[in-house]
Amino acid sequence: MPLNENEFRPKIVAFCCNWCSYAGADLAGSSRLSYPADVKIIKVPCSCRVNPMFILRAFEKGADGVILCGCHPGDCHYSTGNYYARRRMTLLFSMLDYLGIEKGRTRVEWVSAAEGVKFSQTMNEFVEKIRSLGENVRLGDLRCKN
């Protein structure tokens, strides 16, 4: 997709656990399953490593969407990490919604190491959603703007 000056290019941060989702993203890559370049992946050992603070920080710094990917429930490399992540994110997303960051801008998805297709599909859907929502105006730190 060629770059277009006027097109909205969302900033999207994807936190991926090392064991399942990061490997799933690798598989999407080696299978050449494309998704928009707007998605940038940060590797974490487990979805439970993602502090709500990181997500708030992303929105503060101008992210338009944040997605957290982990192992499927029951398959966490550390047994229980994704359960903690799920509970934390439920609360956080609800709070963000209250603050005016629409539910569509945040997402939790379970992607296993074998699900390259799902990873790519998820990212395509998510970017599509963020594009439809437009730029995030809430929570941004005005001092970050030019």
Partner: protein
């Protein structure tokens, strides 16, 4: 501030064709902390690694960022290179600009922009990296093999031959697995039992191998080199030490109505039983659900007839706890249930059978003593139809999307054996494709056609209709002739898809080994680490990883054994240094971190601290870095922000977030 060197790999054209590597070098060289940046065609090559070595020395670098393939590929390579240059290996970070960038984007400008951002994130992280030192943990020199089929037996034999103790845990009363149910094996037509039994005997007799049959894994804790496993030895109700295996109890048992699992439920067995004649151990078990003694309290015939006094109705399940350095999963497969495929009338007619059922029918020890006959009326069939891909290659919700791999070959085998033994029986095979990659495989299939006159019809079957005269009307396509065929058959055999044994999901969860949507265990790398699970110390053997035939299974079993041996041969393992670390001054002693830790790695102790000049004794968290696996659950739970994860610290991750959102 670090002194960082950035190395951008072309990966031949894998990266360079989509990412303007020169541009990346140009842009990132202006990033704070970066004092060296260059690109190179293959960073993973020796010459590429030398670039890192030279730059570290010349520019006195304190940190390295390599923009290349996934860290899952070459992080270890580059860390070793840094170490050779005298740098702490944990001062290296990888920006994944291949799998996460060049391979999925087409537009160069866009991909280059993203590569720069990923590099910036890695640079921002390295700026906050600190040298880490890996600890050491011990290795228990004993392996556990879960599953006692040909995969498990072969793995156990290979590990044991290398001089290490091995335990096999098998959930049924005997080792042998699916292979023991097969009659003949392709493409040589060896008798399955004839080649399997010696292996079973060898395993049972091996001084280093200990077999737990009728047993299941209950619980797994620990980690690579140091697993602790609870094995549940189910009550056999027969004392293995006393039993002589004479078989009188089975003859005399009055309860003979239980479905014989070994014969796929095609006939019945007694309540006290050994699954098959060559069973190892040759010690029966009492099926308590079927046993009259257990159901009503009356009977006790087996106890009366057992001269060895081996029957023990009071036996209880026993839990054995053992330590292992390595665990091999070899749980095997089963055929899928055919309830979603009633158009083939499997549930409506006894004469529609699965291929595995046909194996039992063809076997001399099977329900028909090896005579090919209809299960409905015992008559010899004259027309047989085989249907391929039943439940395989189905991307709908009913079946499995994958090819089960073994069906084309075993169907050719069945067809050939039937034509050989019963030349008056006509055999028709409905196929979509005949897939025969393998040594002597296509020759084998062609022999079925050319020498044995098996009629192969290209096309799937749409319906099997039982007829009032007891025959089966098979309605199928002949695509090459563009016809719909109606064929009366006496028996229909379904090449039923295979799927991983149902228990594998529970076992994978206990081992925290990943599993795919079809319940096959995931390998650490699909090509380069095919017998290792992503979970360190867990190895994969046989069909639990993906469909395969016997030679492939045996080969993989050997490979899994070698990997396990490689681990057991080490005295110590270096542990992951990315462990949690509390800031004692911030810790308020609330214990929440200890509650979420899955490894029990966090304890509390009363410790004297110096808080800005105030000396006092406080209850503070302590992390046992040998136990901590570095998941980070505690770091988020900690209400005071005292807990942090080395290598993935709050500041490092935030720096990455900032770099991406900049």
């Amino acid at each position: 501030m670090q002194r960082i060197g950035v190395f951008v790999c072309h990966c031949g054209s894998n990266i360079a064709a989509t990412v303007d590597v020169k541009k990346v070098v140009e842009v990132v060289s202006k990033e704070p902390g970066v004092c060296h940046a260059e690109d190179y065609p293959y960073m993973c090559s020796e010459a590429g690694q030398m670039k890192i070595l030279e730059a570290v020395k010349e520019k006195n670098l304190s940190g390295v960022v390599v923009c290349s393939c996934s860290p899952r590929m070459h992080e270890a390579t580059f860390r070793k290179a840094a170490e050779r240059a005298g740098l702490n290996p944990y001062m290296v970070e990888i920006a994944n600009i291949r799998e996460h960038c060049s391979w999925i984007h087409k537009d160069m400008e866009e991909a280059t922009e993203k590569a720069v951002i990923l590099a910036r994130a890695a640079i921002a992280k390295v700026n906050l990296n600190t040298p880490l030192k890996a600890g050491e943990s011990r290795v228990t020199k004993r392996a556990l093999v879960i599953g006692g089929g040909i995969a498990g037996i072969q793995t156990a034999l290979d590990i044991a031959d290398a001089g290490y103790e091995v335990d096999i845990v098998e959930k049924t009363p005997s080792i042998g697995g699916r292979m023991s149910q097969l009659d003949k094996t392709f493409p040589t037509l060896d008798c399955s039992a004839c080649i399997l039994t010696p292996k079973m005997v060898e395993a049972a007799a091996h001084e280093k191998i200990n077999i737990y049959t009728y047993s299941e894994v209950d619980k797994v804790t620990g980690f690579v080199g140091d697993f602790t496993v609870d094995i549940r030895k189910k009550a056999r109700s027969v004392n293995s030490d006393k039993c002589t295996g004479c078989g009188v109890c089975q003859e005399k048992c009055p309860s003979k109505k239980s479905l014989n699992e070994f014969n796929r439920g095609l006939n019945t067995r007694s309540a006290i039983y050994t699954p098959f004649a060559q069973a190892i151990p040759n010690v029966p078990v009492i099926d308590r659900d079927a046993c009259i003694k257990f159901k009503t309290g009356k009977c006790g015939v087996c106890e009366k007839v057992c001269q060895a006094g081996a029957i023990d109705y009071n036996q209880q399940d026993e839990i054995i706890t053992e330590k292992y350095g390595a665990i091999v999963v070899a749980t095997g497969f089963d055929t899928i249930k055919l309830d979603n495929y009633d158009e083939y009338a499997y549930n409506q007619s006894k004469d529609v059978i699965t291929s595995l059922e046909l194996e039992r029918i063809m076997n001399a020890a099977g329900p028909t003593k090896g005579h090919l006959e209809r299960l409905s009326d015992g008559k010899a069939p004259k027309e047989m139809v085989f249907i391929q891909c039943v439940g395989s290659r189905c991307s709908d919700t009913r079946g499995k999307s994958y090819c089960s791999k073994i069906c084309c070959m075993y169907t050719a085998k069945h067809a050939m054996l039937i034509r050989d033994k019963y030349p008056d029986v006509n055999v028709t095979v409905f196929y979509i494709d005949v897939r025969t990659p393998g040594k002597n495989f296509d020759e084998f299939y062609r022999r079925a056609v050319e020498e044995y006159g098996v009629n192969y019809v290209k096309g799937q079957v749409g319906k099997v209709a039982p007829l009032p005269n007891g025959k089966l009307l098979v309605q199928g396509s002949d695509l090459l002739d563009n016809k719909q065929i109606l064929k009366e058959a006496d028996m229909v055999v379904l090449a039923t898809a295979i799927e991983p044994e149902a228990s594998v999901r529970k076992i994978a969860t206990m081992l925290t080994a990943s599993i795919d949507t079809n319940n096959f265990l995931t390998e650490a790398h699909p090509k380069l680490r095919p017998v290792e699970s992503p979970t360190a110390g867990v190895f994969l053997s046989g069909v639990c990883q993906g469909p395969k035939d016997i030679p492939e299974t045996v080969a993989q079993a050997g490979a899994a054994a070698v990997k396990a041996i490689g681990l057991l041969a080490k005295d110590k393992l270096t542990t992951n240094p990315c462990t949690a670390k509390p800031d004692e001054l911030l810790c308020n002693g609330c214990s929440q971190c200890a509650n979420v830790c899955p490894y029990g790695a966090i304890t509390y102790e009363n410790k004297e601290v110096n808080d800005h000049g105030i000396r006092e004794t406080r209850r503070v968290a302590q992390v046992n870095s040998a136990l901590c696996q570095g998941c980070g659950a505690c770091t988020v739970t900690c209400p005071s922000g005292a807990m942090d994860l080395q290598g993935f610290s709050n500041r490092q991750i935030i720096a990455e977030v900032d770099a991406i959102c900049r």
